[in-house]
Symmetry: C2
Subunit: 113 residues, 2 copies
DNA sequence: GGCAATATGTCGCCAGACGACATATAGGAG
DNA sequence: CTCCTATATGTCGTCTGGCGACATATTGCC
């Protein structure tokens, strides 16, 4: 209920939600997307990924959907989409991060690039 | 050596370093400062605080200094200061956070708060 | 004298990241 | 036809670290 109480998100969770923000994806696609998004810095192990997805489903921040890239064949891939709740949490987290960066600037902690 | 390898910082660690950025402080002052900085959202338990300080000393991101507010009395308080290494890590972390916020904006995750 | 704020510390629990391992299919190189 | 890689999903055990609970001592106000 109280989305604020769940913050901060772990880095893995944050990137997974961020990856699902534009459109639903299946597990492996999330893994690749997070790598690209983080400029190869984050390589989610499958243990982290599927563990996080399980927790996210339980919290109802994401839900199972039909994979749009599936073409009716035998192999069924599991795709995940953000719920409204999940989107709210993501927005709250990004907002928290922005405040934090501003606070850091006030402390004269300027980035060097 | 490789400061980038230590990221991301945990929230507690980040706020402790941020608190020490302007000037050295002792443990209890850090606790109070972090509360103010985070608008009362983060209340460090002493377990978190002194556990983190111990790790930070071992990593040489902070070092012990004479408490500037001590006035030669019996009770000696332990003050901590950022090392150059610690300041580099802090800058790197803030820089990472900024990139992340920018990436989130590109994904159309706009903050409402 | 008692109570709150200041100040520093330890211990055990638990969540979660991560590496290792396991399994299965599809497609291209040799 | 076989091997290797990419795609794809999952479990298990370990370790780090946050956090609440507990312990202890000093200072200053009422």
């Amino acid at each position: 209920m109280d989305t604020l109480a769940n913050l901060p998100l772990t880095e893995a969770t944050l990137f997974i939600l961020l990856s699902l923000a534009p459109e639903p994806k299946h597990g492996y696609a999330i893994m690749k997307d997070v790598q690209a998004l983080s400029e190869e810095r984050i390589v989610l192990s499958t243990g982290t990924l599927y563990g996080a997805l399980k927790r996210l489903l339980e919290q109802r921040w994401i839900r199972r959907v039909n994979d749009p890239s599936a073409n009716g064949d035998a192999r069924e891939r599991k795709a995940y989409a953000l719920t409204e709740q999940g989107r709210r949490v993501l927005r709250a987290e990004v907002s928290r991060l922005q405040k934090l960066v501003k606070a850091a600037r006030l402390r004269a902690v300027e980035d060097q690039g």
